[in-house]
Amino acid sequence: MTQIPELVDYLKNYDGPAIRLMEVCGSHTHAIAKHGIRNLLSDKIELLSGPGCPVCVTPTSYIDRLIELSFQENTTVVTFGDLLRVPGAKESLNTAKGRGGSVEMVYSPMDVLKLAADNKYRIYVFAAVGFETTAPVYTLLLDQAILQGLDNIKLLTAIKTMPGAISYLCDNGAKISGFIAPGHVSAVTGSNYFNNLAAKYQIPFAVSGFGAKELIVAIYGLIQMVLAGDNSVKNFYTSVVEQENNPIIEGKLNKYFEKADVTWRGMGLIPESGLLLRQEYKQFDAGSRGLDVDNKMNNACRCGEILMAKVKPVECPLFGKICKPSSPQGACMVSEEGSCFNYYLSQN
């Protein structure tokens, strides 16, 4: 049986045709940096970070709307921590909070239930950002809000789905040899979720976990698929991911949400690439439709091209100069899952 050090040796010394692999999950971007994988690979293997970090792909009008809500009478915006520092068109939620906006940070969407129950006369707007992975949690929150009669809970949604974005990349000339498919998304959707994309674009997909060894195995496996011209979907995360989707989660998602055309930061409106609350549940919506304007705080920021792997973070004129984790100009430098943030860390 091949051992991990042998696979690492192979990847270090690989001297075949140049290969460009893209991970489309922010947690992979983070894990690759965390385990120091990039500097274990030969120069012929390039790892590119795709649009898989939820806060990185959220357009500025979404942040601006949250800020507006935070100043609305009797309203509190509730959010995960990593959205706080993401710049909108003019400022971030953190800055707004400093000016008197009502913003609370929580670790779980379910924390909103307690806030809303303790103060029924205040409206709590949860910043429901995420992908296929996080969306199921929002359905649980809605279940409980309905069960407990908490009509003072609302969601401002920015929920994205992967296939639309992957198609967009492939249709727009991103030169990618293979995709490291998102392990968490696949745990919800099943690995078959990517079959149509693999067939349509003739590109292999390898579903991977997040441990150092799991990533090494998946990257090695994906390279073998690229070299063999095997344009299928292989699951290297069998401990968690099945081929078929999870029917319970799918049912819940379909109950509350419908597919919609949504805007991605730096990439624009992508057809059927997101989820919005259905008409029947619009009383829970804090105004998520039509948040399509994307005005960057700093026009020189190349977030969009970076998310599409057309340029590397170092090619952005702001990178490492005025744009640093302590003074992010774009979302990719804010999040632990952002490509600029992780590039910055691996260089400094």
Binding site: V8, G36, N39, L40, F80, R85, Y107, H184, A212
Partner: protein, 328 residues
């Protein structure tokens, strides 16, 4: 609110809750300022404690506010001596909780060998919160020079036990996640005084609090402008804390402790120092996790490099923003 008026109700509160626990000759004089003996070099520090929940597995804000200040003093090689405390109580603070918090302070102060010599209480509007500030004075023995920029190439880096426990315990409680993780909040004066009395020439001590091990080590590497190399598999992490962090997408390297220290000592004293820490109270999981190196190029001056289990290298920075849960 009446309890904060400065009148009779204040006196009742002080007598009933504080005096009963904090009884000592200096405090019971009830003067405006404590006069304490001492003619050596002194270390001073102050810290404010605003933790929620007030009580958590393994401790409470009372134990925490003594440990925090005691440990800050210890990290300069001082022997902690005197502590003052200021309470800010929000209206509606639970008296029974306050009583328990004050008892914890007294117990922990006894354990740490410090006297609480002055105090103050204010009551403000609010929702029953309890906030405590503690200041401390310690005596620094002669010839002790422990400070963050003192690391030297060739030194070894020791951490005194499992990292992330306090942060994980607090988060678990806040998120109502059932597990048996308990906070490590503990006073470290015995560990530090054992090192000093064994004449270990300790270069640097730092307690691993907010921001976690990575933040603390990065601050130290920057202070000395040397390159710190640490090894992932040598860093002690409790299995349960590791899985808790894994589930939430948190990194134990950035999770805070309240009873762990980093010691940087010359290589030739490494095993002796490790032994002393391991046999001290609260140090049984201590380990040597890396070494201090002369930077081999300009960009490595002040670098903190984590060597990962598969032989990769990761440059660590200080914690940016909050310790975040995974959202994808």
């Amino acid at each position: 609110m009446e309890h904060g008026s400065g009148g009779r109700a204040t006196g009742d509160l002080i007598r009933e809750i504080f005096e009963a626990q904090f009884d000592n000759d200096i405090l019971s004089e009830m003067e405006d300022a404590a006069v304490v003996p001492g003619d050596v070099q002194i270390a001073m520090t102050t810290d404010s404690f605003v933790v929620t929940p007030l009580q958590f597995p393994g401790g409470d804000i009372g134990r925490l506010c003594i440990c925090g200040t005691v440990n800050d003093l210890c990290m300069r090689g001082a022997i902690p001596k005197y502590i003052t405390c200021g309470f800010i109580l929000e209206e509606g603070a639970d008296i029974e909780t306050l009583r328990q918090v004050v008892k914890s302070m007294a117990d922990t102060a006894r354990e740490a060998g410090v006297q609480i010599v002055a105090g103050d209480t204010k009551v403000v509007d609010g929702n029953g919160g309890i906030y405590i500030n503690t200041s401390g004075v310690g005596f620094v023995p002669k010839n002790i020079d422990i400070k963050s920029k003192n690391a030297k190439p060739g030194d070894v880096i020791i951490v005194s036990g499992n990292i992330g426990d306090h942060h994980a315990a607090i988060l678990s409680q806040r998120m109502s996640i059932n597990n048996t993780i308990i906070s490590d909040n503990a006073p470290l004066q015995q560990m530090v005084s054992s090192l000093i009395s064994a004449n270990i020439p300790v270069h640097v001590l730092r307690d691993v609090t907010r921001g976690g091990l990575a933040t603390v080590l990065k601050e130290l590497s920057v202070a000395s402008q040397l390159c710190f190399n640490i090894y992932e598999e040598k860093i002690p992490v409790d299995l349960q804390v590791e899985s808790f962090c894994g589930l939430l997408g948190l990194d134990p390297l950035y999770m805070g402790n309240e009873g762990k220290l980093v010691a940087i000592v010359p290589q030739e004293y490494a095993s002796q120092a490790l032994n002393i820490i391991k046999t001290s109270k609260y140090g049984d999981k201590a380990n040597i996790i890396g070494e201090v190196c002369a930077p081999d190029n300009v960009s490595n001056a002040g670098a903190l490099i984590l060597n990962t289990e598969i032989g990769g290298q990761r440059y660590l920075d200080i914690l940016q923003g909050e310790g975040l849960p995974r959202i994808c």
